[in-house]
């Protein structure tokens, strides 16, 4: 698909970094301020979709291709499961145990600081990767499908 006019391209080349930074901020501070992994992941996907809408699909595919997005998706899901399984070190009833907080951080006055909350920021980052990569992948696939079907070519996927 083609991009948009020159005004949209120049404005979105400044704005795309702000949206990406905002998504990362909402994810990392998810245990202190409203937001969390889900909102941050959706905003991260929105920044790449802004790239796709303004500059065209090929430009966005060079930045983050379909293979890399699907691998990021799987990495996010496996990271979430790994954080959960690490609780098994501390006993049989340890699935999803917040072992970082209970063993190392409790009682040390680390409330309302960035490094607090135990495994919660790690899970937030994993969920953000997973949700962001999934939603970007689906919009990319929709635009690839429409380009192929409207031009009438038969392309190998």
């Amino acid at each position: 698909m083609k991009g948009m006019t020159i005004i949209v391209k120049s404005v979105s080349s400044w704005v795309k970094m702000l949206v990406l930074l905002f998504g990362i901020y909402i994810t990392i501070f998810g245990h202190l301020t409203p937001g969390g992994g889900f909102a941050g992941g959706v905003i991260l996907a929105c920044s790449y979709i802004l790239l796709m809408l303004a500059f065209g699909r090929e430009y966005a595919e060079e930045n983050l291709s379909l293979c890399v997005a699907s691998k990021l998706d799987c990495v996010g899901a496996l990271l979430f499961a790994a954080v959960a399984l690490c609780g098994f070190i501390y006993g049989a009833a340890g699935f999803f145990l917040n072992f970082v907080h209970q063993k190392w951080q409790a009682g040390q006055g680390s409330a309302l600081k960035l490094v607090s909350g135990g495994t919660i920021p790690l899970s937030n980052i994993a969920i953000c990767l997973k949700v962001g990569a999934s939603l970007f992948m689906i919009v990319l696939i929709l635009s690839v499908f429409r380009a192929d079907s409207s031009s009438g070519k038969e392309e190998v996927s």
């Binding site: 202190l32 409330a111 999934s134």
Partner: protein, 122 residues
């Protein structure tokens, strides 16, 4: 009264999903049903004059680490909000799946009309 209007929104979405012929209208009806259910769940946990369930700087006791009872008595319920947060993202995933089915069907049959699809074969 507000709960009844939420339910009325749900019934509008259900009517659209049952009666319309256009496949995209059916998808829109399902989305309206999902919005109304999310809204109803969050409205169940609202406390009049309450605050958001996020602890601020002066709402907890730094010595003992416990929150003050003024916060506990005035915050809204966090449990429905947790349920709805995941439900919103899942509704986007299911919308993607439904729209991909609609696009594939349009590709094969050339129309969004579900009565026509029933009559064509192969």
């Amino acid at each position: 009264m507000l709960y009844a209007m939420c339910f009325f929104l749900f019934v509008i979405g259900l009517y659209c999903a049952l009666v319309k012929k256009n496949m995209v209208k059916i998808v829109i009806g399902i989305m309206i049903m999902e919005y109304s259910v999310n809204l109803f769940l969050v409205m169940l946990g609202y406390r009049a004059g309450g605050v958001a369930p996020i602890v601020g700087k002066d709402e907890f006791d730094a010595v003992s680490g416990m929150v003050k009872s003024s916060f506990v008595n005035s915050s809204v319920d966090p449990l429905p909000q947790a349920l709805v947060l995941t439900a919103i993202v899942i509704s986007l995933g299911s919308l993607a799946l439904m729209i991909s089915i609609c696009i594939r069907t349009y590709e094969k049959y050339g129309t969004f009309d579900i009565t026509q699809i029933r009559r064509l074969k192969g």
